[in-house]
C-alpha cells in the first residue's frame, strides 16, 4: 500500500497544526488506553462494545424488576410490593427491556459488525456514532433515575393517554418516560442515519448489496424502520409532554380529545418497533446457522426479500393492537388480514433456517444451540401471534396473560436468544478469547428450560382469564399453581444469567492463566469478512480493504469445490487472513464533545420536570458541546494523514504482488 505522506492538514483558517481547545478546555484527547480512550472514542468497535456492556447492565436491572414481579405473583394475595410500585415495576421492566436492552444490544452488534461485514474502516460519521451511544446511555440513566426521584413511570410502556395524563398518573414518572423516550430516540435516530449511510456508501469494492451478509441486510432494514418509526413516537410523546407539562389538550377528553389518537400514534411506531427488536436477531442466526451447518444460507434472496417484506408490511398491521378499542369492523377485518399475511415472510425465514440445517454438517456449539432455540421458540410465539390476528379470538385474549406469553416467546425466545447466540459467536472476535462451551451449554439449557417454565404456563393462565398487569389474585381464582411454576421458571432464568456472567469471568481467567493464547482470526471457520481480520479486531479493521467476489467471500477464499460439488479446502486459513499489523492507517480522531452534548440533554429534561431554571445550565452544556464539535476538526491536524483515494485493494485470496502497508509512523503529540 503506497502511503503518501502528506502535509499536515491545514486548518481552513490558515492556521495549521494548532491544537484546538474550544473555550480553553477539553483539548483533543490523545490517550490510546484507559477510561479516557473509551469515553472519547469514535471507534465503532469500542462503541459497539460499550453499547453491549451498558445494555447488559440494563438487562440485569430489567431482570431484577421482573423477578420482583414474579415474586409478587408467586402466591395469591402477594404482599411483596404495593399496587403503585407494582405498576412502576411492570412499566419500567418493559421500557427497560425494549428501549434499553434489546434495541441497544442489537445496536451493539450492528455497530461492531456492519463496518466489518461490508469491509469498511469505520461508520460514515464516527463522531455521530459516539453521540448516539452517549445520548442513548444518558437517556436510559435518566429514565432509570426516576425510581429515586419520586416514582418511576407507572402507565405501561405503551403509556395509553389519557390514562397517563396528570389526572391519572400524578407522579413525575410519565414525564420521565416521555422525555426519556425523546432523548433515547435522538440517539437511535442519529444512529440509524449513520448506519444506513455506512451500508449504502462504504461497502468494499465488489460488495454489492446482494453479496452482503444477511445480518447486514437485516440490520439495514431495522435502521430504516427506526428512521421512519421514531418520529411518530416522538410526536406522540411530545404531545403527551405538552399535555402534562404545559397544559395542552391533546388527551383532554373533557374538551373532546380523542383517546384513540395516542393509540394510533403509539402503535404506528409500536408495531414496526416489534420488527426493530426481532430483525437483528433474525440476522444473527442467519449468520450463525450457515457457519455451524457448513452450508451457505438456504435461499439467500428469499431471506433478504422476506426481511424487506417484513419491513414494509410491518407498517400495515398496527391496529391489531387495538382490536378491542372499537375501531370498527372494516378496520378490524383489514388489519386481521394484513396481520395474517405478515406471518408469511416470517414463515419463509423459519423454513429457510431449517433448510439450511437440513443435510448440513451440524456442530452444536452454544451459539448454534441458541440459534436453534430461536427458531423453535420464535415459531411458538409466531403461532400464538397468528391466533391474535383472528380478531374474535383476540377480543378474548386481549389484556390477558396469553398476550404476555406471546410477546415473551417472540422477544425473549426470539430476540434475546438470538442476541445470546451472537454473543457466543462473535465474542472471540470482539475480545480475543472464547467463552467456555461447557458453561455455555449449561447457560443455554437452563435458560431454555427456565424460559419455557416461566412463559409457557402464561398461555394457560391467560386462557383461564388471568388479566395482565394485576397486582395480585385470589386463591379462589385458580391461578396459583401456574403462577408458582412461572415464578420458579423466572428464578431458573436468573440462574442461567448468572452462569453466563460466570462464564465470561471464568473464560477470561483461564485465558489469562494460559498466557492469553491467540484465538486466531477465524475460530469458527466463518464465512463473512469479519473473520478475515485478527481477533480482537485491530483498530483500523482491515490492513487492506478486501475486494469481494462473491457472497460469503471469505469462505470462498478458503474453500473451492471438487467435481461432486463438495467443499474442499484450497487455502489454509492463515494464508487468507490479515495480520492486523498495518501502521499509519489514518483513523478519525477521538473527541469529548459527543459526551458533552449527551450530558446536557438529561439536564434539560430534569429542568422541564422539576424546575425550568435547571434547563439553562443544561442548554449551556449542549451549546458548549455543539460549539466545541463545530470548531474541532474531525481529523486531528497534528496527526499525519495518509491518503486513501489511491489505496490499493487486494486481489482475491490476498496472494502475491502486494506490498504490505509501509509503516509510516504517525507522529503523535
Amino acid at each position: 500500500m503506497a502511503l503518501v505522506e502528506r502535509e499536515p492538514l491545514a486548518l481552513p483558517s490558515g492556521r495549521d497544526g494548532v491544537a484546538v481547545e474550544p473555550l480553553g478546555v477539553l483539548a483533543r484527547p490523545k490517550t490510546k488506553a484507559g477510561w479516557r480512550s473509551w469515553v472519547t472514542t469514535v471507534d465503532h468497535k469500542k462503541i459497539g462494545i460499550m453499547y453491549g456492556v451498558a445494555a447488559f447492565v440494563f438487562f440485569l436491572i430489567g431482570g431484577i424488576e421482573a423477578l420482583i414481579i414474579r415474586l409478587q405473583l408467586a402466591s395469591p394475595n402477594g404482599k411483596v410490593v404495593s399496587a403503585a410500585l407494582y405498576n412502576q415495576l411492570f412499566t419500567t421492566h418493559a421500557v427497560t427491556m425494549v428501549f434499553l436492552v434489546i434495541m441497544p444490544m442489537a445496536a451493539a452488534f450492528a455497530n461492531y459488525l456492519l463496518p466489518l461485514q461490508i469491509g469498511a474502516r469505520d461508520v460514515a460519521f464516527p463522531r455521530l456514532n459516539a453521540l448516539s451511544l452517549w445520548v442513548w446511555l444518558f437517556g436510559g440513566l435518566f429514565i432509570t433515575s426516576s425510581f429515586f426521584l419520586g416514582g418511576a413511570p407507572d402507565g405501561g410502556w405503551f403509556a395509553y393517554a389519557p390514562n397517563t395524563g396528570v389526572a391519572f398518573s400524578p407522579s413525575h414518572g410519565m414525564d420521565f418516560y416521555a422525555l426519556g423516550i425523546i432523548i433515547t430516540g435522538i440517539g437511535s435516530l442519529v444512529s440509524s442515519i449513520n448506519l444506513i449511510v455506512t451500508v449504502l456508501n462504504l461497502r468494499a469494492p465488489g460488495m454489492t448489496l446482494f453479496r452482503m451478509p444477511v445480518f447486514t441486510w437485516m440490520a439495514l432494514v431495522t435502521q430504516f424502520l427506526l428512521l421512519f418509526a421514531l418520529p411518530v413516537i416522538t410526536v406522540a410523546v411530545f404531545l403527551l409532554t405538552f399535555d402534562r407539562l404545559f397544559g395542552a389538550n391533546f388527551f383532554n377528553v373533557a374538551q373532546g380529545a380523542d383517546p384513540l389518537l395516542w393509540q394510533h400514534l403509539f402503535w404506528i411506531f409500536g408495531h414496526p418497533e416489534v420488527y426493530i427488536l426481532i430483525l437483528p436477531s433474525f440476522g444473527i442466526v442467519s449468520e450463525v446457522i450457515p457457519v455451524f451447518s457448513r452450508k451457505p444460507i438456504y435461499g439467500y434472496p428469499f431471506m433478504v426479500f422476506s426481511g424487506i417484506a417484513i419491513g414494509f408490511m410491518g407498517w400495515g398491521v398496527w391496529a391489531h393492537h387495538m382490536f378491542a378499542s372499537g375501531i370498527g369492523p372494516i378496520s378490524v377485518a383489514a388489519f386481521s388480514l394484513s396481520t395474517m399475511f405478515i406471518a408469511v415472510p416470517t414463515g419463509v425465514k423459519i423454513l429457510n433456517w431449517m433448510a439450511t440445517m437440513w443435510g448440513g454438517k451440524l456442530r452444536f456449539t452454544t451459539a448454534m444451540l441458541f440459534a436453534m432455540g430461536l427458531v423453535a421458540m420464535f415459531t411458538i410465539g409466531g403461532l400464538s401471534g397468528v391466533s391474535h390476528s383472528v380478531s374474535p379470538a383476540d377480543t378474548q385474549q386481549t389484556d390477558t396473560y396469553y398476550i404476555v406469553a406471546h410477546f415473551h416467546y417472540v422477544l425473549f425466545g426470539g430476540a434475546l436468544l438470538g442476541l445470546y447466540s451472537g454473543m457466543y459467536f462473535w465474542f472471540p472476535k470482539a475480545f480475543g478469547f472464547m467463552l467456555n462451551e461447557r458453561l455455555g451449554k449449561w447457560h443455554f439449557w437452563i435458560t431454555l428450560i427456565g424460559f419455557n417454565l416461566t412463559f409457557g404456563p402464561m398461555h394457560i393462565l391467560g386462557l383461564n382469564g388471568m388479566s395482565r398487569r394485576i397486582v395480585t389474585y385470589q386463591p379462589s381464582d385458580g391461578f396459583t399453581f401456574w403462577n408458582r411454576v412461572a415464578s420458579i421458571g423466572a428464578a431458573t432464568i436468573a440462574i442461567g444469567t448468572l452462569i453466563f456472567m460466570y462464564n465470561i469471568l471464568h473464560s477470561y481467567r483461564s485465558w489469562k492463566a494460559a498466557n492469553r493464547p491467540n484465538v486466531g482470526a477465524d475460530p469458527w471457520d466463518g464465512r463473512s469478512l469479519e473473520w478475515m481480520i485478527p481477533s480482537p479486531a485491530p483498530e483500523h479493521n482491515f490492513d487492506q480493504i478486501p475486494t469481494v467476489h462473491a457472497q460469503d467471500d471469505f469462505w470462498h477464499r478458503k474453500y473451492g469445490e471438487d467435481e461432486k460439488g463438495r467443499a474442499v479446502r484450497i487455502k489454509a486459513t492463515e494464508d487468507v487472513t490479515q495480520k492486523g499489523d498495518a501502521k499509519g492507517v489514518h483513523l478519525p480522531s477521538p473527541s469529548y464533545f459527543p459526551l458533552v452534548i449527551a450530558v446536557g440533554l438529561p439536564i434539560i429534561a430534569y429542568g422541564l420536570i422539576f424546575n425550568r431554571f435547571i434547563c439553562i445550565p443544561g442548554a449551556l452544556v449542549v451549546l458548549w458541546g455543539v460549539y466545541g464539535w463545530v470548531f474541532e476538526p474531525p481529523d486531528d491536524p497534528d496527526v499525519a494523514h495518509d491518503h486513501h483515494a489511491e489505496e490499493p485493494h487486494d486481489q482475491h485470496g490476498g496472494d502475491g504482488g502486494l506490498v504490505p502497508a509501509v509503516p509510516e509512523e504517525a507522529p503523535v503529540g
Binding site: 486548518l11 483558517s13 374538551q255 470548531f631
Partner: protein, 219 residues
Amino acid sequence: MAEVLTADAPAAAGHDDHGGHDPHHTNTGISNEKLAMWLFLGSECLLFGGLISTYLLYRYKLRSFPGFENVQINRLGAHIYDIPFTSVSSFVLLMSSLTMVLAHSALTRNDHQRTRIWLMTTALLGATFISGQVYEFTAFYREGLGYTTNIFSSAFFTLTGFHGVHVTVGIIMLLSMFVQSARGRLAAENAERLEIVGLYWHFVDVVWVVIFAVVYLIP
C-alpha cells in the same frame, strides 16, 4: 440533529475523511453528508405527518371553546385566520427557496460576493416569515385563543410551532454559512455543503406548502 450534521462539514474543509473513504467515491455516488440529510428529511416527513394528522383529527372535534361562543363550531379556523396575511408570509418563505438556489448557484460560479448577498437575503426572508408567525400567534392569543384554550388551539400551535422551530434552525444554518463565507472558508469546492443546507431549507418550505394548504386554505 440538522445543525450537528452540517456542523460536521465545515470542519472537514478540503479533506473529508469519514472512515477512510473519499466522499466522492462512495458506492452510491452520493456523498455521505448529502445521503444523511436525505435520510433525515425522510424521517422528518413522518414527524410532520404525525403532527398534521393530529391537527386534522382535532380541527372539527371541538365541543366548546370559551371566548368563541358566537362562532359556528367547525368554522373556528376560518373565523380566526387572516388568510391574506398568511398568504403574504407564505409567499415570502417560498421566495426564500429561490434566493437559496441563487446563493448555491453563485457559489458554484465562485462568485462569493453574490453568495453572501443571497445567503443573507434567504436568512432575512426566513426571519420575516418567523416574525409573521410571532405576530400571528400574538394576535390569536389576544383574541383569546391560547395554547391551552382547547384541542384545536393545542394542535394548531404545536404544528405551526414545530415548523417555526425548523425554520429557525434553518436560519441559524444559513447564518453560519454566511459567516463561513465571510471568513473565506466556503470555497466553490464546498458548494455541496451549501447544497445540503439548501435541501433542508427547501424541505422546510415544502412542508409549509402542505401546512398552509391543510391548515389555512381547506375550509
